[in-house]
């Protein structure tokens, strides 16, 4: 028993303590969080704009050019692997850009935007059509009806799936290693190849992801409950 504990202790020391390796995880986590945070914001902005584009109609009720463009963007992004999108961004589109984090934020943000767009679109469509009709019948323009009536109600609808999208995005950043960024996953991988011992670094990284996402889930749950409360006033 004692021998077992000693062995585990040694593994732990090797994976986290010696050579100040814990700093590598921390740096990796920093990169992961940076990419996820800014990509999430970019994804929200793109997603909202694209959703509104896709929902736009002409006076005769037909789709606009914007609507078709938005549809094409969503199709292309959802129809290709995100690793490939990241590689294309790094090696082709932004070849001259040496800032890996920026490239990753752009790539992940554009990727997430397509999914967020569909979430936001569904959220807006879920608001009863009568709300829009009432707004329009009072003389409010399409835009004013959207801003004051539809979107505030859509926010409540989209919060749970948006939270899910954030979680997916955070984990998706684990592929950032493909463009020579040292995120949390890659840091763990590098350490395991240096110590010839995979268990501690990989399980350790998994635990860190889990804890971060658990915290995120709790925060989102709190926000959702607060928004719901205003429903039952």
């Amino acid at each position: 028993m004692q021998a077992w504990f000693e062995k585990v202790g040694k593994m732990f020391e090797m994976a986290f303590i010696s050579g100040d390796r814990w700093k590598l995880y921390l740096d990796g986590l920093g990169v992961t969080l940076q990419i996820a945070f800014f990509a999430a914001i970019l994804g929200m902005v793109i997603g909202t704009v694209v959703a509104l584009m896709k929902l736009s109609t002409r006076k005769n009720g037909k789709k606009t050019v914007w609507s078709y463009l938005a549809g094409a963007y969503i199709d292309i992004i959802r129809g290709t692997p995100s690793v490939l999108q990241l590689l294309i961004m790094w090696f082709i589109i932004l070849k001259s850009c040496k800032n890996g984090i920026l490239v990753a934020v752009l790539s992940f943000g554009i990727n997430s935007g397509a999914y967020v767009a569909e979430i936001v679109r569904a959220g807006i469509l879920a608001v009863d059509k009568g709300q829009t009709e009432a707004g329009r019948s009072l003389g409010l323009s399409k835009a004013k009806t959207m801003i004051y009536i539809v979107i505030p109600q859509a926010v409540k609808n989209v919060l749970p799936p948006i939270g899910n999208e954030f979680i997916v995005l955070l984990k998706e950043t684990a592929i950032a290693g493909y463009v020579s960024l040292t995120d949390l996953t890659r840091a763990a991988n590098q350490i395991s190849s240096r110590t010839y011992e995979a268990f501690m670094p990989l399980i350790g990284a998994a635990v860190i992801y889990f804890v971060i996402i658990k915290i995120l889930t709790i925060l989102l749950g709190k926000l959702e409950r607060r928004l719901r409360k205003s429903d039952n006033r």
Binding site: R136, L138, G139, D231
Partner: protein, 250 residues
């Protein structure tokens, strides 16, 4: 008597109105005039086009062809600023359609303030006056989810009135209500009628049509089949379809 001063001004003129939904020809040539101060009640079987007709009047439905004039302006002209026109035409819906995210007060003052027709204080004052008129002053800070159907519909009427409309359109305002709440909404509508408001009402409430209407229209198959004063309409219906209809609903 002031109500009748402009009695022969035509507020709404409808000429040869058609509406098609894909293959479904819902309105097949409707011609009608609404004079100021009139209370037009439209009855008819479901699917007759009466709601579509009403929704065409403020262009919530875009007519396929035909003309609609409001206050001397051809509003079916695509160049017309329809948002501006709609500020003069109130509409009350079957499902109330109060804004769920806003308090009752905010429901009422949203349009007047955001369209800069009134200052916030002025709009609030007006809202409270109107709320008192329908007996719901104490609900100003409530949310729609806390109200009964009858209360919601009375608030919806107030919300429209806050815009000082020239005409009020009612699209089956009592059809979604529990029977015991129909009366309170009809009372508000009656009071509104007495105040001289020009009203176009689609309803199944024959008692209301008889009592409040200045004209009653029978719509079926996308046209106005019969039009008469309430007394003649109910006591002496001309066409066979109307006789059948009345024998079922009365």
């Amino acid at each position: 008597m002031e109500n009748w001063r402009g009695g022969c001004v035509r507020v709404i003129i409808v000429k040869d109105l058609h509406k098609k939904f894909e293959d479904n020809h819902v309105l097949r040539g409707v011609d009608y005039h609404v004079h100021q101060g009139e209370k037009i009640v439209i009855v008819g079987p479901s699917g007759s086009g009466k709601s579509t007709f009403l929704r065409c009047l403020n262009l919530l439905e875009t007519p396929s062809s035909g003309e609609i004039w409001f206050d001397g302006q051809l509003i079916t002209d695509p160049k017309v600023d329809i948002d501006k026109v709609r500020t003069h035409m109130g509409m009350v819906f079957q499902n109330f359609n109060l804004f769920n995210n806003l308090s009752i007060m905010d429901n009422i003052i949203l349009a007047p303030t955001k369209l800069k027709l009134m200052g916030k204080e002025e709009a609030k004052e007006k809202a409270l006056t109107l709320l008192a008129r329908v007996g719901l002053k104490e609900k100003a800070d409530a949310f729609p989810s806390q109200l009964s159907g009858g209360q919601k519909q009375r608030i919806a009427i107030v919300r429209s009135l806050a815009m000082n409309p020239r005409v009020m359109l009612f699209d089956e305002p009592t059809s979604a209500l529990d029977p015991e709440m129909v009366g309170e909404v009809l009372d508000v509508m009656k009071e509104l009628a007495e105040s001289g408001m020009t009203m176009v009402v689609v309803t199944h409430e024959m008692g209301f049509a008889r009592e409040v209407g200045t004209k009653v229209l029978f719509m079926d198959e996308g046209i106005i089949m019969e039009e008469n004063t309430p007394k003649e309409f109910f006591n002496n219906p001309q066409c066979q379809r109307l006789q059948d209809f009345l024998s079922k609903v009365l």
